[in-house]
Symmetry: C2
Subunit: 229 residues, 2 copies
DNA sequence: AGATATTTGTACGTATGTATC
DNA sequence: GGATACATACGTACAAATATC
């Protein structure tokens, strides 16, 4: 895929600072020459880079590099998505078992009551400081060889797609303001009764098959989004 | 623009239920015939519909209609964006004045300390029930004829783009969990000390010119997002 | 199970329109 | 007004994934 290679190369140049924010890119015709491809293919790469927030363009004027905030903060709500390769992140499994779905879980998972679900509670810390407490449910019939101890350190999407070879259709996230109290406050080392964000995270395979349901409570009280016109 | 017309027509058919969720669309070749356009142009319309969450496609299989949650809940964080044409929404201006930027506001607005800013506080209610309290700042030099009483009922973007003819570059939103207390709790008719969401909303014109800064507190404790692969 | 047809994805080339400089 | 640069649109060919027989 030629356009993918061009996408990757231009993205690299932006991330490495070879192209600086607001600076104009070479024109389309010039890029054709540089990469030895047709204008259609150049435009396809540019379109994807615009979609992902790396570039914007203006007819008659040129193609311009976006500053980092345009591509760094998009729909990355959960911590796992944001860190990706953060090596200092530590996982501590507080609980891990196989449960039977009650009414509420069965409804969420689109499964009959009593269906078997993997279940685990995990505390994630950075340099010893708690940042997220998450509780996850995954249908057993989809993940036969599941082992909570080998739970993914980074993105959930990668685990499901690359390790399990499932195709993800979409994910729905509900962000709610809650008060942390009692045991929860202790685990997260937060002041009892303080407000923070709870993120409910449902990952779906094709149609409405739920692959994972996670509720995570962050110590971080704010998340950021950017909407580009 | 032919592709825009096709985009609009297919979108209409989805919203009106002529195409139902998960149903396959006519093939690309067929669509060429229906609209009397080339495959390139059909694909461009489809690409935009996919980008906006109305469709998805699979190579070798077909193009499929997404269910409503795919396009209804995307990056619409603020209430104004979500309601659009809700006629029952009422605005009550609690305060309206012209102020001089202090250090904090000057930094946010990228303006010198003491710059004049329009400022107003607005309570929005639906059927008498409070739903949002918002405080807004807008640089006077960009909006000379501003009148808080004629403040936009719907989307802020529409007001700035259509009424003021400014081109919006991007918007950054910070979603924070807070506790509502004292006067704020009273205005929003919420229990004192309960947790809810505060959304900070910065709208930028080209480069880093800030056009509007809004802080809104919702009575609604949850917002929803969807991420499509 | 395997060959074939169908359908979307990638890529090239060309021409013209339109906004900006 | 002219030159430049991105946007739209048409047509063609082949590749890759999927569906079907």
């Amino acid at each position: 895929m030629k356009y993918a290679a061009v996408y990757k190369d231009i993205k690299r140049k932006i991330l490495n600072g070879i192209y600086t924010p607001w600076a104009p890119l070479e024109g389309e015709e010039m890029l054709c020459g540089i990469y030895g491809i047709s204008r259609t293919t150049v435009r396809k790469a540019i379109a994807k880079l615009k979609q992902d927030g790396y570039l914007h363009s203006q007819q008659g004027s040129g193609i311009f590099v976006n500053p980092p905030e345009f591509y760094e903060e998009r729909t990355m709500t959960t911590l796992s998505e944001r860190i990706e390769a953060d090596v200092d992140l530590e996982n501590q499994i507080l609980q891990s078992d196989l449960i039977e779905a009650n009414e509420r879980l069965a409804a969420i998972c689109n499964l009959p009551v009593g269906s078997k679900l993997h279940h685990y509670i995990r505390l994630r810390t950075i340099n010893g400081t708690p940042c997220v407490l998450e509780e996850t449910y995954m249908p057993q019939y989809l993940f036969r060889n599941f082992d909570a101890a080998k739970t993914p350190r980074g993105s959930v999407f990668k685990y499901i797609e690359e390790d399990c070879k499932y195709g993800i259709s979409h994910a729905i996230k509900n962000v709610t303001a809650i008060k942390v109290e009692g045991e929860l406050a202790g685990l997260l080392q937060m002041e009892n009764g303080s407000a923070t964000l709870q993120i409910e995270h449902k990952v779906y395979l094709k149609k409405s098959v739920l692959a994972q349901y996670t509720i995570e409570v962050q110590t971080n009280k704010t998340i950021r989004f950017i909407a580009v016109r």
